[in-house]
Subunit: 410 residues, 2 copies
């Protein structure tokens, strides 16, 4: 099954907007086992649209377009589609009713211009738009399936899930690849690859891909099967075996961020945490509180950006700052203990470091970060040396702190 | 001048990665007055690449490809380009030297596979890659300029700025459009449009575009001229007049984020600030500390997520919490005063609100946020009602706090 994607809009070509529709549609089609052979972007220009559609219709089994369905005069996709397929436009009563109801709900009269949106090519099926007014369209011609969808990503995605994917599944397209994601942090990509290389070479119909970012390496395990059930089994088995090999380095299987995993662990243990942040300036707190319900276990903390606040709000000793400096193992530990004490929390996590761009020297270079975790029965402190820009160093520091807290909780 | 963009890579078609190269190249080409007529994405498949290149060469004055230049066997662009243009590959000594030097710098032996990267089509110019190993290429054939660039966005961008744009300018392409950005926050798009509509209708050769996001509305002023100087003058004049009309709502002209503007104002006035954050969990602190050198004016603050910390670390009164609740004008003011007092800063900024998804009721609905600013000669508090998901509400709250601080500093 060959598929082509056509995205329409001047703004996608002059830098006004990044085209994310192609990637979304590509992922959904690939998951159904379709082979996406090409994606083309053209402006809202009838000739350009016509040319690309004629070519795609001759070549692909499925063509999906997005964009150019709005009520303004720029939006020409529907007329071009009708012409290319040799069909006239006819009024679709259901669609007109829906658009009228939409305006009634908004309490506004329906502008004349929106009536044109209810005109669809003869023989086309209108795909309901539950968010906006422009319906999508499905046509079949010479064994090619032709989906015409709106360009607004939310509207397009809704139609893909509610109509396009079920329709293609009904035509026998099945999910013959399955993906599992093992998320790791704190271990370099090369070390992970080395660790699992022997195993993955032995796994049949399994491909491994690595996605490295500032916050860690995601190991994507992609498996094929002759049936959907077989693909799922292969993927479950491969993910389990790779996960065992990587052990504690894996903080989640799936899309969960590490702050969610930490949240589970804190809730399970009925523990609370407070943070003391210097160079990260609040990033750790922000991340922990991204999880709904985090008030169950996160009490707050101190952003101790200045040395003065480290002393006054966290109780870091003058002597510590004088002898070792604010970026030191000793200061990190006192910050973690201090915030745990002030906030009456079970765990205290502290970050202090040199994020740059200025401030580093030979002894304490740029990117040097200390993270400490303190709790009633122990404490840990680690030294990191991160590289990248200011925000990258700070993001890596917050990630390392979340991982140290996770390991302390395990 | 017609331009086409071709991006190459399977991962761009199966949802593995969003293609941001097209948008970046499109913006740079459009700024030079080129008309980007089409962008196509194909997999790393020689036949697919060949087909799209042959078509583009017949149609466009400038063709730019990205992707498929790495050393692994997937990466086939160069071979296809050579074949399409009827050229053989020859060793480029300069490039080989550069690649060897790159590996020497890394302290690693150069793998044999990287030697292939120094082979370029006969008559092509190699474009130096200052970040990675694969060089870019420039060829001319039948009056078409043909740039072959790496797919890694950072490498591609570097070559565009250092080579492609200067080269095209040397060929007489000139920047005949100029853009100015007026950044606003806290005023709805419709209100801004209404305010400046009368004026902008009178401005010749000027187009206005609005980009609305959770943090505000950017007004893009796009002006044309018959010469680059005229375009610049028109843009400067239009931006100034629109800026006057919008007054204080504009916090920056250009790309500056509001935290940078706030930083300037604090530094100019030799003032310091501390933050007290409840629902934002550290976002305001993170944003203020994104600016290098922010330690000059940002001392830190308290993440007072729990009521207990609001009382103990900020001195919010029990009675206030009991009578008005933690999400109230009164609590916000006491938090701002409290943090200013504890941190010995000139300004204190506080945020308290209901970010959701749970926790709202009729009296205090989801998205309700209070922001307070306190300083030696005054205090202000405002009530906001934001909508969107949890993170959106929190980002809008941090943005509103930065804007209130800016206005207090003006």
């Amino acid at each position: 099954m060959k598929a082509e994607i056509v995205t329409i809009g001047r703004e996608l070509l002059d830098g006004g907007r990044v085209d994310t529709n192609t990637s979304h549609l590509g992922a959904r089609l690939a998951a159904l086992g379709a082979d996406v052979t090409r994606a083309t972007t053209v402006p809202d220009d009838p000739k350009a649209i016509e040319e690309v559609l004629l070519r795609a219709l001759g070549d692909a089994d499925v063509v999906i377009t997005t964009g150019g369905l709005g009520p303004t005069s720029d939006d020409r996709t529907k007329h071009v589609v009708a012409r290319v397929l040799g069909r006239s436009l006819v009024l679709d009563d259901d669609t007109l009713e829906r658009i009228a109801a939409h305006f009634e709900e908004l309490g506004r009269p329906m502008p004349e211009i929106n009536v044109a949106q209810a005109m669809i090519p003869e023989g086309a099926r209108a795909i309901e738009n539950t968010i906006g007014t422009a319906p999508g369209l499905l046509m079949e011609q010479d064994r090619t399936l032709f989906f015409v969808l709106p360009g607004v990503p939310a509207e397009m995605k809704r139609m893909v899930e509610s109509y396009v994917v079920p329709f293609l599944e009904g035509r026998g397209l099945r999910r013959l690849t399955e993906e599992r994601i093992l998320r790791t942090t704190g271990v370099p990509e090369s070390a992970i690859a080395e660790e699992i290389e022997g195993l993955t070479r032995k796994l049949a119909r399994t491909e491994i891909a690595y996605t490295a970012s500032a916050t860690g390496v995601d190991v994507r395990v992609i498996c094929r099967g002759d049936t959907p059930a077989e693909a799922r089994r292969t993927a479950d088995d491969a993910a389990e075996r790779i996960g065992e090999k990587l052990g504690n380095a894996v903080y989640a299987t799936g899309e969960e961020p590490i702050e969610q995993v930490v949240g589970y662990l804190l809730q399970m243990g009925k523990k609370t945490v407070a943070v003391a942040e210097s160079c990260t300036g609040g990033r750790l707190g922000w991340r922990l509180t991204r999880i709904p319900g985090s008030s169950e276990y996160f009490v707050g903390g101190v952003i101790a950006y200045s040395d003065d606040l480290k002393k006054r709000l966290l109780g870091v000793r003058v002597k510590t700052l004088k002898d070792h400096g604010a970026v030191s193992e000793e200061a990190a530990l006192e910050m973690a203990e201090g915030v745990r004490d002030k906030a009456h929390s079970d765990y205290g996590v502290a970050i202090t470091g040199i994020a740059g761009p200025g401030g580093g020297d030979d002894e304490k270079p740029l990117g040097l970060v200390f993270v400490a975790v303190s709790w009633d029965r122990g404490e840990r402190v680690e030294r990191f040396r991160f590289s990248g820009g200011r925000d990258t160093v700070r993001e890596m520091a917050a990630q390392a702190a979340l991982d140290m807290l996770r390991r302390a909780l395990l």
